[in-house]
């Protein structure tokens, strides 16, 4: 049983990038914008973060660089879909493909490079408690920041005036517009914030988790994060729990393999998506549920004149 705390620790770490990116996409979608470019934004942020960590040796700067890179790419996406009304699905896919190629292109010189020595993180005192210490209190600060961000998002979306406006823009941009809110700018801010969070997730992967840079490093986690928002029915806390669940399934499978139990890893790789489809099927049968949680204008362009 001495493996269990380590399994919990690994689950928290592997769920963190999914939770961060999932939260970012949730904020996008609450404002009515669907950004399928998550994978691309995470990749561009991963190389930006790695490059920053490599040149400065600072994790903080790496996360700032990652957030900036993700935010910038998201801003470009936002300008296209919000002002030029390009199709959100096609534009998002283009951002993903662009991010893949662009990150590979600028990252060539960083392949095989090594980040400077990093000390393990421990919360003094707490980390010495048996079982709980190794499971919960020996993580990179970003693991805790992700939890704090989820809590902040709950407060913001459901307790603050600005969050109410954001949700109004996602539910009925026409009404929000009629009330005098600048729908396009609010959407752009949500998109940039979402991109920045995806960026932090990307930087976490390349700077803390792997830690290395190679082409295609994100390896599909952007898509899992997208599935996660639907799986969580657009509720931040469920995004966090879903992220730990998706992260934990992989880790549990590896732990089982290590213990000599056999399990199909291909089947497990499909699980997040199957779970998402199941949730979609369930909530689609219940109209009230959808009405309560799913942003009504998700994916639809907004023309202020009409």
């Amino acid at each position: 049983m001495d493996q269990l705390p380590l399994l919990i620790a690994a689950t928290l770490a592997s769920g963190t990038p999914l939770a961060l990116a999932g939260l970012g996409l949730l904020i996008n979608e609450k404002a009515g914008v669907l950004n399928l470019g998550a994978e691309g934004m995470m990749l561009v942020a991963a190389i930006a973060g790695f490059a920053a960590a490599f040149t400065t040796g600072s994790d903080t700067l790496a996360f700032v660089a990652g957030a900036a890179a993700g935010g910038l790419l998201a801003a470009a996406f936002g300008a296209l879909v919000i002002w030029l009304n390009t199709n959100q699905y096609a534009t998002g896919l283009a951002v993903s493909l662009f991010g893949y190629g662009f990150s590979a292109f600028v990252g060539v010189g960083y392949v095989g490079q090594k980040l400077s020595e990093r000390t393990p993180f421990e919360i003094p005192g707490l980390s010495q408690i048996p079982f709980i210490g190794p499971a919960l209190f020996r993580h990179h600060p970003m693991v805790y920041i992700a939890i704090a961000l989820i809590a902040a998002a709950v407060w913001f979306l459901y307790r603050s005036r600005a969050g109410l406006v954001l949700r109004a823009v996602g539910e009925s941009p026409e009404s929000a517009h009629a009330l005098g809110y600048k729908v396009r700018w609010i959407r752009l801010m949500a998109v940039v914030a979402g991109g920045a969070l995806c960026g932090v997730a990307g930087a976490f992967l390349s700077v803390v988790y792997a830690p290395l840079w190679v082409e295609g490093l994100v390896a599909g986690r952007g898509w899992i994060a997208l599935a996660l928002t639907t799986f969580a029915t657009w509720r931040p806390v469920r995004v966090l729990l879903g992220a730990y669940l998706f992260g934990g399934v992989t880790m549990a499978q590896f732990a089982l393999q290590g213990a000599g139990v056999n399990f199909s890893s291909q089947l497990l790789a499909m699980l997040p998506y199957i779970a998402t489809i199941v949730v979609l099927a369930i909530i689609s049968r219940n109209p009230t549920w959808i009405r309560i949680n799913m942003p009504a204008s998700l994916g639809k362009p907004f023309h202020p004149g009409t």
Partner: protein, 384 residues
């Protein structure tokens, strides 16, 4: 999503359909003589001859610090050897799809006289183009299908894995080794078994735990798999995947691991015990030379230590002297042909004898490895 499905077995499904096509190609095939413009009687003294054009098709970018990088080192070795008598080109990041066929055909049409296709998934495209260009020689890495103008080459990576096993067996304190595997194909199973047998040769108590990740390349997943092996008690790790993530995870945890496909000593100075290398240069030089001389033959070539095609390099200072000596001895054995990692007796994990005592395995035996040796935990995931 990036799936580096190099050597993937997917293309096996297309194999049956292709067989007929190859059959047709065979009949029209001309004799492979006097194809290279530079094939003067005395190759060394050929003055002012047109350089021989040779081309490489790569799966990854040359900067992948692994599989493709190693092939490109081989190409550079050809350039260094033959100077202006050869003109090399390469195309990188060629997917194992219909694109591969187009790239290979372009290279053949551009007048290249020998074309190396360096990933398992290029087997069918290479066969197809080979049938269209009987005057061009094709060499396909890690495959098994031949044509009159298409040869196959590979290296004995398991010789490396066995030597790394010897080092791992000496360095482990928990007597538990960890292996991060990609797909349960014979090539990878051979490496797992050789690694375990090597370790057992110096430490009979060795157990190896294997975690399969179903990809050649997903660094975060490789790191997760490595972490779970460490959590399960493994303290020396090795991988048959393409990034240095396993090594870096070992470094983070204060454990040991190995480099694979490339010199990874700089990535994790404390964890790095040795790097397992493939050197394609010697074979590429031989193949190019044989086209120049007009002696090229279609055959399956598998090279190892004897031909300087493999090597375990940069063995860490922490490894005891007597173990380094043992590694050197086995290397000599490989070269002399007296040593093989799979020299009998080979007992599988269920106690069945797969090779009797003192028997030497032949290539057909090695091609069909589908079991774990005794000491490897668990069962091989069912492919079917």
């Amino acid at each position: 999503m990036s799936t580096f499905s190099k050597r993937t077995l997917l293309s096996l499904t297309a194999a049956a359909a292709m067989a007929a096509l190859v059959g047709c190609g065979k009949k029209e095939e001309a004799k492979p003589a006097a194809t290279a413009p530079a094939s003067a009687p005395a190759a060394a003294a050929a003055p002012k001859a047109e350089p021989l054009k040779a081309a490489w098709v790569y799966l990854g970018p040359v900067g992948d610090a692994g599989w493709t990088f190693a092939h490109d080192q081989g190409r550079k070795a050809v350039e260094a050897e033959f100077g202006d008598k050869v003109k090399t080109t390469f195309v990188e990041k060629v997917p194992e799809s219909a694109d591969a066929e187009r790239v290979i055909r372009d290279l053949a049409a551009q007048g290249n006289k020998i074309i190396f296709t360096t990933s398992f998934g290029y087997m069918e495209p290479t066969l197809k183009v080979a049938a269209e260009f009987p005057d061009v020689k094709f060499e396909h890495a890690t495959g098994y299908k031949l044509a009159p103008n298409m040869g196959v080459y590979d290296t004995r990576f398991y010789q490396d894995a066995y030597l790394s096993g010897i080092i791992a067996g000496a360095m482990t304190k928990s007597n538990t080794l960890g292996f991060v595997g990609s797909f349960p194909i014979p090539e990878v199973l051979r490496n797992i078994n050789a690694f375990t047998l090597g370790a057992q040769s110096v430490n009979p108590k060795i157990k190896t735990k294997v975690v399969w990740i179903s990809t050649w390349f997903d660094p975060p997943k490789e790191a997760e798999a490595a972490q779970s092996l460490i959590n399960a008690g493994a303290d020396v790790l090795i991988q048959n995947t393409d990034s240095s993530a396993v090594l870096q995870t070992a470094e983070k945890n204060g454990k040991y691991a190995f480099g694979w496909d490339a010199d990874m000593s700089a990535v994790a100075p404390k964890a790095h015990l040795a790097s397992n290398m493939v050197f394609w240069g010697p074979y590429y030089k031989k193949a190019v030379k044989s086209v120049m001389d007009g002696t090229w033959k279609s055959e399956r070539t598998i090279w190892g230590y004897k031909e300087d095609a493999n090597g375990v390099i940069k063995i860490a200072d922490a490894v005891p002297e007597d173990i380094k000596k043992k590694v050197a001895e086995v290397k000599e054995g490989y070269k002399a042909g007296t040593m093989d990692p799979f020299k009998g007796p080979i007992i599988d994990s269920e106690g069945k004898e797969r090779l009797p005592k003192d028997a030497m395995p032949d290539q057909a035996w090695k091609d069909k490895v589908d079991f774990y040796v005794k000491g490897v935990d668990g069962k091989i995931p069912a492919g079917k």
